[in-house]
Symmetry: C2
Subunit: 107 residues, 2 copies
DNA sequence: CGCTTATTCAACCATCTGGTTGACGATCCG
DNA sequence: CGGATCGTCAACCAGATGGTTGAATAAGCG
């Protein structure tokens, strides 16, 4: 029911966006530089960045003309936590998993 | 570029489908039983199960009239591996991460 | 055989997605 | 100031998504 988790997984479902995240792993980048390796318009990349931003996977800060994009690990960590918790309890203790979901509010 | 990873993350982006996976964690279930807790038509749940199935997150086996749905951990593991690898190399060794991506073919 | 249960199919609908192009606002620079 | 660069906005498009309903297929049961 967590809308953030929805947005995070949805954002990760696109290969262009995963590639953008890989780029940002190297360093913070301006929007134009993020767009450079992709064979699509700047506007399209800008939209992808907006989706990543609303999903909490990146943050954007405008300094002068240039908008800098920066990886934000927390959102991905939340998604990873959901998956980890999921596997952790398989064939083990379903009640414990239920409690885990309630605690984390990540059902 | 891995279409399976695309489908896996896309499948996980829907709260109904994540809830279905939680149900299946408890036990294998028939389609009708999976649908029971949800306030939507059986056809809608059937579609969700199809999406989970094509994403590799579950398998479905028909025995008699009844189609049994079973959790398949491999797909989620692949997604989890992508995320884990992602975090693992942050601010550490970008070249190693690049190699990881190539090896895993999970860019 | 005929009824009931299990599940999908088909058509339809509203909304979202990923892309385009062209215009626009903002900022830096000579 | 005037021009170039950075980035978004707006309108548009084709196709996917998540839901509905009603009919169809398939299998078990009396």
């Amino acid at each position: 029911m967590d809308p953030t988790l929805d947005r995070t997984f949805a954002a990760l479902a696109d290969p262009t966006r995963r590639a953008i995240l890989s780029l940002l792993l190297e360093d913070d980048m301006a929007v134009t530089d993020v767009a450079e390796p992709f064979e699509m318009s700047l506007a399209a990349v800008s939209k992808h960045l907006m989706i990543l931003s609303r999903a909490g996977l990146i943050s954007q800060e405008k300094r002068g003309r240039v908008k800098w994009c920066k990886l934000e690990p927390d959102a991905m960590r939340a998604a990873s936590t959901w998956m980890k918790g999921f596997g952790q309890f398989k064939e083990l203790d379903f009640d414990a998993f239920e409690r885990f979901l309630e605690e984390e509010d990540l059902s």
